[in-house]
Amino acid sequence: MTRMGAIIVGLAAIAAIAAPFFLKPFGIFLISTWAVLTIAAIGLNLTLGYAGQISLAQGAFVGIGAYTVALLTPLGVPFFIAFFAAGLLCFAVGWLLGYPALRVQHHYLAFVTLAFTTLVFLVLRNEEWLTNGIYGITGTPRPTLLGWKTTAARDFYFLCLGVLAVLSFAIWWMLRSPWGRAFVALRENPIRALSLGLDTRRYTLMAFAIGSSLGGLSGALHAPLVQFIEPNSFALGLSFNLLLMVIVGGSGYFFGPFVGALIAVLLPEWLRITQGYYLLLYAAAIMVLMAFCPSGVLGLVERARIALVGRRKEPATSTLAEGAGP
């Protein structure tokens, strides 16, 4: 990372910590939503942006995670056990969902994962004995961590932010390890990667499994944040929305999901004054962005930086900031 980049990230972190002290409850709810959705988007960015495997199932994993926590905590299971159970369950299911990706790619894979999302939605809606169907589940409690109660909005926001920070660090660590390079190789040229000894099968499944487990962990925070979950929240719309966050932020950029999720959470609120037109304006803005800069907002920033300071002098050793390109 450049020094400039480090300064920007540092300032953003300070802003994220200071923000709840200046916001009303609804504002705190919005930034908590941002933190929770960013976790899911980071997972999708790993699967899609780095490893190049398109998935329209991330919303379903958020759902699986949310229901896992909402169903386990009333049984007396401590939140953090349920939280990890959600991650593990989604890791396993994501691994299985990765198998189709070994056979089909691109839009065919998109259809397979889309079917999976529909399947999960139907299970959540129809298996009333387990999920309470369309009536959903209310009142998932917010946890107490070593005596620290996170019931208040601000406290729960800090919990979400903390989880986001820890998971971001873990993913950053993974991407700077040889795995990050292997994922990019998988995206750019799987046949050549295979001939260089990369077990592309295992890396593909791993990319799916880890990406999905982040979806599950995001869902595990979503349930106590919103305190009401129902199947519709995790239907295709959420998967599309998460895909949009990754692409708008900049697919294959480490900080892409942070920016994409911020835009996806805040823009509809800011455009609320336009009443019924906000979706229209949002859609138009995204079409313009995609037409002029398919590598997303961070791609746009990168372009501007190159135009201003010329080509980077910094060694391109990191796989973290490469971007997937168009």
Binding site: P178, A193, L194, S195, L196, T317
Partner: protein
């Protein structure tokens, strides 16, 4: 003499077309074997069958005496068999250095140890040496996609050598490379061969390149081996001349 690679009665059919027809040959330790033949004579299909990209219809492949027919390319690579492709195959968004580290990292430790180990998988020094060896030092930190075609060809070859392979199969290394670059590519391949005692199999159209580089040449036409011998004999072989000039 031991044979590094032994191919026996290898056949590959696509529907009704027989691309490789009962081909048998051996590659001896330390030699540079050239495989030539007109377009469509089955050279690349033969490579792909040997390297696990395609499953042969019949026949057997052995590496160092061990049967490897049908093994996955990644497992073959870890046995020390490496390759380049006919069309350029570098990772354009990674730097030259990262391309090289990638080419060696799967040979270091296990998947888990690579996750927690060093970012360069302990290959930084080896990559640096390879970059110097192929005279790419001034480009080490550039994205591979920004290099010229000839430079990418050099990188492509360097990647095949990164894991210190026992056997390297080069599919048209000279294709589309200009004469100056061709000279330096050949010279680097020869230098590597002399230094590491590696064994090469080279598919090539460029006759001068084959004649200068290879110690023995096989000629393939319509999926069969029609001639075999030292480069200067092959050049005068009437069967070979006919195969190239048509019927």
């Amino acid at each position: 003499m031991t044979s590094v690679l032994a191919v026996s009665d290898l056949r590959k059919t696509f529907g009704g077309i027989t691309a490789v027809d009962s081909v048998s040959f051996e590659v001896r330790d330390g030699e540079i074997l050239g495989i030539i033949g007109p377009n469509g004579s089955g050279k690349s299909t033969l490579f792909n069958c040997v390297l696990g990209q395609l499953r042969p219809t019949a026949g057997e492949v052995r590496i160092d005496g061990k049967p490897t027919t049908g093994m996955r390319p990644c497992d073959l690579n870890r046995l020390g068999v490496s390759r380049t492709f006919q069309l350029l195959q570098v990772f354009p968004q990674l730097s030259v250095r990262d391309n090289l580290i990638l080419a060696g990292q799967e040979h270091q430790g296990s998947m888990a140890s690579r996750l927690f180990g060093r970012s360069d998988a302990g290959l930084g020094g080896a990559a640096e040496k390879m970059i110097e060896f192929f005279r790419l030092s001034h480009l080490a930190d550039e994205q591979a996609g920004s290099l010229s075609y000839g430079q990418q060809k050099l990188l492509d070859a360097a990647m095949a050598f990164m894991a210190g392979p026992r056997l390297v199969l080069l599919d048209e290394p000279a294709g589309g490379v200009n004469l100056t670059m061709l000279g330096s590519l050949r010279e680097r391949l020869q230098a590597y061969h002399a230094e590491r005692k590696a064994t090469f199999v080279v598919i090539e159209h460029q006759m001068e390149f084959v004649m200068a580089l290879c110690t023995r040449v096989l000629v393939l036409a319509e999926g069969r081996i029609i001639a075999e011998g030292a480069p200067h004999d092959i050049r005068r072989n009437p069967l070979v001349i006919e195969a190239y000039l048509g019927h």
